[in-house]
């Protein structure tokens, strides 16, 4: 295309009057009469993302993992057991011979090609495959819900602090700094153990101490400063732009400016942070659950599966390895995909991760 002789293109303006188009150097010339197709920033981002095969593959992997976990009841039905059903004294047929699900010395059977106990059993004789799928639902659910909470709080704080500046900003920023000063894990543990008795009472809302919402709220809150800071920075820069001034001149109020002028400009940052935040949340959830300050029985997550399996690591390592691999794959898929998203949405690399 570039080798074609330069032809000054003309095209019809929407009103039908003849007009001339400025030719952008380096752009291919267009035959006369053809309209320029509008390309939204989202479309451009999608085109960049589409070229990043690795990121797309990992994004697909995450979707597959989610689907796999959602299919938990289905598989439980096929395997004919539930996530909390003990088969301590049962026997199954392996290679034509009946075998104890849990040997008399406490060692459970390992993974093998049989529908029931595909990934082996745990020390209570529960089906690891079924527990893995149900545990994954919990882990991913917590990760996504906590990320929604973090995003909601961080965007609110960032918008308010960045738009109003002055004392609003001072108060909110100082508050964020204080939360920032705590090591994330310790803050999570402190909240997790303090709420382990009696749960939480939020006005009319009571959350029992074994509810999944306790870890969700904790994880959702501790990461807020890590997301609010960069968003505030971006809002501070955006609010100096002419389009905000124009909106003020039109008589738009602060709330409308925040939601109709500033928020649309923040979407790419929010999407990137949201994706990476789910990954971090899942890691934090597993750590809290491993230490006993996260998901409480009867719920199970990949973190609690590792915690239980770790006690028997020398006799039944599959109980630790399998949930760990699941966490690594899920978190890795989110991290790689999130990275690709950032490259696509933000080619100039404005979005910086602070951790």
């Amino acid at each position: 295309m570039a080798s074609e002789p330069y032809v000054k293109p003309t095209f019809e303006t929407p009103e039908g009057a003849p007009g001339e188009e400025y030719h952008v150097p380096g752009e291919p010339t267009r035959p006369p009469g053809e309209r320029i197709e509008g390309r939204s920033p989202w479309y451009l981002a999608w085109r960049r993302l589409r070229r990043n095969r690795v990121a797309l593959a990992f994004g697909a992997l995450f979707v597959l993992i989610v689907l796999f976990c959602l299919a938990a009841p289905l598989w439980a039905d096929i395997a004919g057991t539930g996530p909390n059903t003990n088969h301590l004294t049962d026997q199954i047929t392996l290679g034509g011979e009946p075998t104890d699900v849990v040997a008399p010395n406490g060692t459970p059977i390992g993974p093998g090609l049989h529908t029931k106990f595909l990934l082996g059993a745990d020390t209570n004789g529960r089906d690891v495959m079924v527990r893995m799928m149900y545990g994954g639902r919990t882990s991913i659910y917590i990760g996504v819900m906590a990320a929604l909470i973090t995003t909601l709080l961080a965007v609110t704080v960032g918008l308010l602090a960045g738009y109003f500046r002055g004392w609003t900003d001072s108060v909110l920023s100082r508050a964020m700094d204080v939360v920032w000063a705590f090591p994330v894990l310790l803050l999570g543990i402190a909240l997790g153990t303090a709420l382990a008795f009696g749960g939480l009472q939020l006005g009319p809302l009571t959350i029992p101490d074994n509810s999944l919402w306790i870890p969700i709220l904790i994880i959702g809150c501790v990461y807020v400063p890590y997301m609010a800071r960069p968003i505030r920075g971006e809002v501070l820069a955006l609010r100096e732009k002419e389009f905000v001034e124009a909106a003020v001149a039109q008589g738009k109020g602060p709330l409308r400016i925040m939601f109709t002028e500033l928020l649309p400009n923040l979407w790419s940052t929010i999407i990137v942070f949201f994706t990476l935040n789910i990954a971090n949340n899942m890691l934090l959830e597993s750590a809290l659950s491993f230490l006993g300050a996260g998901v409480k029985p009867p719920n199970a997550s990949w973190g609690t599966l590792i915690a239980e399996g770790y006690d028997a690591i020398y006799t039944a390592p599959h109980l630790t390895i399998i949930p760990g691999v699941a966490i690594v794959l899920t978190v890795l898929s989110l991290n790689v995909f999130g990275d690709g998203l950032r490259d696509a949405l933000d080619p100039k690399a404005k979005i910086r991760l602070e951790h």
């Binding site: 310790l186 303090a194 230490l291 590792i306 690591i313 690594v328 890795l332 991290n335």
Partner: protein, 304 residues
């Protein structure tokens, strides 16, 4: 700084004494407390007093070394002090490892941007930041000290006792703790270096006739290290202040983190209260220190 420290202590107070929806005396006394103990705790902590008085009581207990665990009957502050040498051994060693590897990997990645080295290092870094620390620790223990008996299974030997044994016992924990930070820092360093390669001062350095190597190390790398030092200040403070809880727990190193880890298992709140507060305090002190260092290193910051 004083204001931040005060705010931190208030948050700790709120977390442990205000938010939870249960009898505070019951929580502080622990899981297996009897009625008499709960009564004593109620008396000692003054849970019937107004909140500011309760806050003062708690702070007095934490800072006069009067805080004790009602489950183990041990003094909390003494236990934390006992754990500090172990935690410092772990964290300083890990910090040396993570900074050296992060700078090496980040530098290689940036210099070979887009090439095979860069791609493989990026993948390694992403895997590093995607691994739960405790799981990595468990895997290393299982494969390297159980399957193949290369390393001891955790435990701590004091430096004074035998420096060689000390290091030998800490190799696995050091690397475990360092992996996450190597992954994260090398990626930050890579993008910083790629950014500063287009700066004017780099062109000037090249125009002066410096070798490519000198330009990269003396100009690009040095300037790109500033954000890494900031991150290091935050993270080192966090791991020393109890953030290494997972590594210490799995490797059975009796440091500050493991002390907190045990307290979680028994839902013993006083140790957690103290570790959380000291951890946050430590981070604030360490950051202030880094800020002062900065002003010393970079005169522009002093002026701003």
């Amino acid at each position: 700084m004083i204001a931040v420290l005060f705010a931190i202590s208030v948050i700790v107070f709120v977390i442990f004494n205000v938010i939870p929806n249960s009898d505070p005396a019951l929580r502080i006394a622990g899981k297996n407390a009897d009625a008499q103990l709960i009564e004593n705790v109620n008396e000692e902590w003054g849970f019937n007093d107004p909140l500011p008085v309760q806050y003062a009581t708690m702070m007095k207990k934490v800072f006069t070394g009067d805080l004790k665990s009602y489950q183990s009957q041990l003094n909390v502050d003494e236990q934390i002090l006992d754990g500090i040498p172990v935690t410092l051994s772990l964290c300083i060693g890990a910090a040396v490892i993570w900074m050296s590897f992060a700078i090496l990997f980040g530098y290689l990645s940036a210099v070979k941007a887009g090439r095979f080295t860069d791609r493989s290092l990026t993948i390694l870094a992403l895997i590093g930041i995607s691994m739960p620390v405790f799981w990595l620790a468990a895997m290393l223990l299982y494969y390297l000290s159980f399957k193949v008996t290369l390393f001891p299974t955790g435990d701590y030997v004091s430096l004074a006792e035998s420096p060689l044994d000390w290091a030998y016992h800490l190799i696995l924990p050091w690397f475990t703790l360092a992996v996450l930070f190597i992954g994260f820092y090398s990626r930050v360093l890579r993008s910083n270096m790629l950014d500063s390669m287009n700066e004017d001062y780099v062109r000037t350095a090249r125009a002066k006739g410096l070798s490519e190597r000198q330009v990269r190390i003396r100009h690009v790398l040095r300037n790109s290290l500033i954000p890494i030092v900031t991150l290091f200040g935050l993270d080192f403070g966090a791991v020393v202040g109890g953030g290494a809880i997972l590594t210490e727990t799995v490797y059975n190193l009796q440091g500050v983190g493991a002390y907190a880890g045990e307290a979680i298992g028994t839902l013993d709140l006083p140790p957690l209260m103290a570790v959380t507060m000291f951890g946050a305090f430590f981070i604030v002190f360490f950051n202030t220190l880094v800020d002062i260092l900065y002003a010393y290193l970079d005169p522009r910051i002093r002026l701003a």
